[in-house]
C-alpha cells in the first residue's frame, strides 16, 4: 500500500482512468468523462470496482450517478466524502 498512498487520491483516480479506460488520452480534472468516445458503460463499472478496492469503500449503484461520476474532480470529491 505504501507506494500507492504516495500518490494523492486524485492522481490515482486520474492515472487509472487515463491508462485503463482512455488508452492514454490525457484529461483535465473537470472534463466530462461520459461524453461520446470517452468512458463507456462497462468502463464506468470498472472504475467503480477500482474505487472500491483502492479506497476500501462500498459504492452502491444509486450513488453511481451524474452528480458523482462526471469528472475526475467529482469522483475525487465523492471518494473523499465516503472516506470522511
Amino acid at each position: 500500500m505504501s507506494d500507492q498512498t504516495a500518490l494523492d487520491p486524485k492522481s490515482m483516480i486520474r492515472d487509472f482512468i487515463v491508462s485503463k479506460l482512455l488508452n492514454g488520452r490525457a484529461i483535465a480534472d473537470d472534463e466530462n468523462l461520459l461524453l461520446s468516445g470517452l468512458i463507456d458503460s462497462l468502463g464506468v463499472f470498472e472504475l467503480v470496482a477500482f474505487l472500491e478496492k483502492t479506497f476500501s469503500i462500498a459504492v452502491p449503484l444509486d450513488e453511481v450517478v451524474l452528480e458523482n461520476f462526471t469528472s475526475v474532480a467529482t469522483i475525487e470529491a465523492y471518494v473523499a466524502a465516503k472516506k470522511a
Binding site: L34, G37, L66
Partner: protein, 506 residues
C-alpha cells in the same frame, strides 16, 4: 395522420396546430413545435447564406441535446441531407465520412471546435461550420457562392447514415423524404402514438433507431425526451430519468434495457407510465425481458426487426406470460413490407431474407458496386426491388420469422453493426501487423483481435490498441487485443477463428 411531404413538414404542421406543445426536451430545456419550426427556418436561411444548396450534404456533429433536433430539421428544411457524425468517432473516421459523401458544411457546437477544426483542415471543400442557431463558428475560407435553389422533391435525400463496411470503408445508407416518411407512418400506426406520448430517445443520431424518436414521435405531435450520453452510461440516473419524465414509450436496443436489469437499477422505481417497451437491433433474451417486465405494470412489449436499409419491416408483440426460454421471434411482416425467403434462388421457409418496402433506402451513397449486390428482383415482378438483408431466417407454421444468424461475418455489439472484416483490414494497415483476426464472443458480446507481427518486429499491444481507437468507430474497438507468435490454422490453412472465439470466451 398528418399530411407531410417532407420530413421537416412535421415541424411546420404541428407549429400551426399546437405551437406551444413540447416537441423535444433535454434536461431542463424544452423546444416547442413553434420553436422547432422557427429554428429550422433560421438554420436553413443561414445554410443558404453560406452556400448550401438543394441536394447538398451537411454533417451533424453534436452531442445529444436540443441541438440534435434543431440541426436535423434545419438541414432538411434547407433542402439538404443531414449526415450524422458520431461525436465519439476518431477524426480519421469523420474525415472518411465527410469525403465519402462530399459534406459541404457542418452543424456543430463550439465546445467541439478542436475536433471539427481537425476535420475541416483535412477536407478542403468543407469550409463552413454553423451552430444549430445558424451562427458561424468556423470562418469560411472562401466566400459563399450565390444560391439559386432548385425546388425540392420528395425523392430528394433526407439523411445518410454511415455504417460499418466489410471492405474497410463505411457505407452510407441513403434515405429519401419519401422512404423516411413511409417508415414514420407505419411506426406511428403500429404503436398508436398520440400527442400524449413521451418517447425516450436512447439512440444517437448516427444509429438508425433514432429516426423513430426524432420523426415518428413528432409526427404524432408527441414529446421526445432526449437522453444524454451520460445518462446512457449510468443505469441509476437513467432509471431515475425514465420515472421522473413519466415516459410512455421506450424504444432501444436490448443493451440499454438489460443494463438496468443487470445493475439492479429498477428497484423502487415507478415505471407505470410506460405503455410500450419496444426493442430491436439484436436478439433480446426472454429472462431479461421478464425481469424488466416485473417493473412495468402497464407496458406492452414488442420486438422490432429491420436493417437500417429498409427500416422496421417486421414486428412481434409479446405477452410476457407466454414467454418461454426459446429465442424471441422477429414476428410477422409490417403492413407495408413484402418479405421473401430464398434458398438458393428458390422461395423457401428457411434461407436468406429479402425485403421490399416503400421505406427502403434509395441505395448506398455513390456506390454502384455495393448497390448492384444489395438489390435484386424476384420472380415475375422485375420492377420491384428487393434488398438482400444477409440475415438467415426460418418461417414457422404460424407464419412467424425466426432469426438464425448471418450469411456473412457481420456481428452486432450493443445493437451496432460491425463488420469483422473491416476490423481486420484496418488493423492490417499498421506496419507491425502481419495478419489480424477479429472474433466476437461472450454475452454481452465482446470483440477480440489477435495479431501476428512480421519477423523481427516486437509489436506493442498498447500501440496497436491506440491505433485501433484512432481508426475504428468506438463500438468496433476491440475489448481484447493480443499479439500471438502464430495463428492456429484449419486444415485448409485458414486462421482458425472458431478456436480464437472459444479462447476469448472466458
Amino acid at each position: 395522420m398528418i399530411e407531410a411531404q417532407y420530413i421537416d413538414d412535421i415541424a411546420a404542421i404541428w407549429a400551426k396546430r399546437a405551437p406551444d406543445a413540447v416537441a423535444f426536451t433535454f434536461g431542463d430545456a424544452t423546444l416547442s413545435y413553434g420553436a422547432l419550426d422557427a429554428g429550422a427556418d433560421r438554420l436553413a436561411q443561414a445554410l443558404w447564406a453560406n452556400g448550401v444548396q438543394t441536394g447538398d450534404r451537411v454533417g451533424v456533429f453534436v452531442d445529444k441535446s436540443l441541438d440534435s433536433a434543431l440541426a436535423i430539421y434545419g438541414i432538411m428544411r434547407a433542402g439538404a441531407a443531414y449526415v450524422p457524425m458520431d461525436p465519439g468517432a476518431p477524426v480519421e473516421r469523420l474525415v472518411q465520412i465527410a469525403q465519402a459523401c462530399g459534406i459541404k458544411a457542418m452543424v456543430s457546437q463550439e465546445r467541439k471546435q478542436s475536433v471539427f477544426e481537425e476535420v475541416t483542415a483535412r477536407v478542403p471543400d468543407l469550409t463552413t461550420v454553423l451552430a444549430s442557431d445558424g451562427t458561424p463558428i468556423h470562418a469560411a475560407l472562401k466566400p459563399p457562392q450565390p444560391v439559386d435553389l432548385r425546388p425540392r422533391a420528395p425523392d430528394d435525400v433526407a439523411y445518410i447514415i454511415f455504417t460499418s463496411g466489410s471492405t474497410g470503408t463505411p457505407k452510407g445508407i441513403t434515405h429519401t423524404h419519401k422512404s423516411g416518411l413511409a417508415y414514420v407512418r407505419m411506426s406511428v400506426a403500429l404503436y398508436g402514438l398520440t400527442p400524449d406520448d413521451r418517447l425516450s430517445n436512447h439512440s444517437p443520431l448516427h444509429f438508425d433507431m433514432s429516426t423513430f424518436d426524432m420523426f415518428s414521435g413528432p409526427f404524432a405531435g408527441a414529446t421526445t425526451v432526449i437522453i444524454s450520453e451520460m445518462h446512457m452510461k449510468l443505469p441509476a440516473s437513467l432509471a431515475q430519468l425514465i420515472e421522473q419524465e413519466w415516459m410512455t414509450i421506450w424504444y432501444s436496443v436490448p443493451h440499454a434495457l438489460i443494463q438496468l436489469v443487470e445493475r439492479g437499477a429498477l428497484q423502487n422505481r415507478d415505471f407505470s407510465a410506460l405503455r410500450w417497451v419496444v426493442f430491436g437491433g439484436e436478439p433480446m433474451l426472454p429472462g431479461q425481458l421478464r425481469a424488466f417486465g416485473a417493473h412495468t405494470p402497464n407496458a406492452r412489449f414488442s420486438n422490432s426487426y429491420g436493417p437500417a436499409e429498409v427500416n422496421q419491416c417486421s414486428f412481434k408483440h409479446l405477452d410476457l406470460a407466454d414467454l418461454t426460454e426459446a429465442p424471441i421471434s422477429i414476428g410477422t411482416p409490417c403492413d407495408h413490407a413484402d418479405l421473401v425467403i430464398l434458398d438458393d434462388d428458390t422461395p423457401a421457409d428457411e434461407g436468406e431474407l429479402y425485403v421490399a418496402t416503400p421505406a427502403m433506402m434509395a441505395g448506398y451513397w455513390n456506390d454502384d458496386t455495393r448497390n448492384a449486390a444489395a438489390f435484386r428482383s424476384i420472380g415475375n415482378a422485375p420492377a420491384r426491388r428487393y434488398y438482400r438483408t444477409g440475415d438467415l431466417v426460418r418461417r414457422d407454421d404460424g407464419g412467424e420469422l425466426h432469426f438464425l444468424g448471418r450469411s456473412d461475418r457481420q456481428v452486432k455489439v450493443r445493437g451496432f453493426r460491425i463488420e469483422l472484416d473491416e476490423i481486420e483490414l484496418v488493423m492490417a494497415r499498421h506496419p507491425d501487423v502481419s495478419e489480424a483476426a477479429a472474433v466476437v464472443s461472450g454475452n454481452p458480446p465482446r470483440i477480440a483481435v489477435y495479431i501476428t507481427a512480421p519477423p523481427d518486429i516486437d509489436a506493442d499491444s498498447a500501440d496497436l490498441r491506440a491505433f485501433a481507437a484512432q481508426n475504428l468507430p468506438p463500438q468496433a474497438v476491440p475489448t481484447i487485443l493480443r499479439v500471438l507468435p502464430e495463428f492456429k490454422r484449419t486444415a485448409t490453412g485458414k486462421i482458425d477463428r472458431k478456436h480464437l472465439a472459444e479462447a476469448s470466451d472466458v
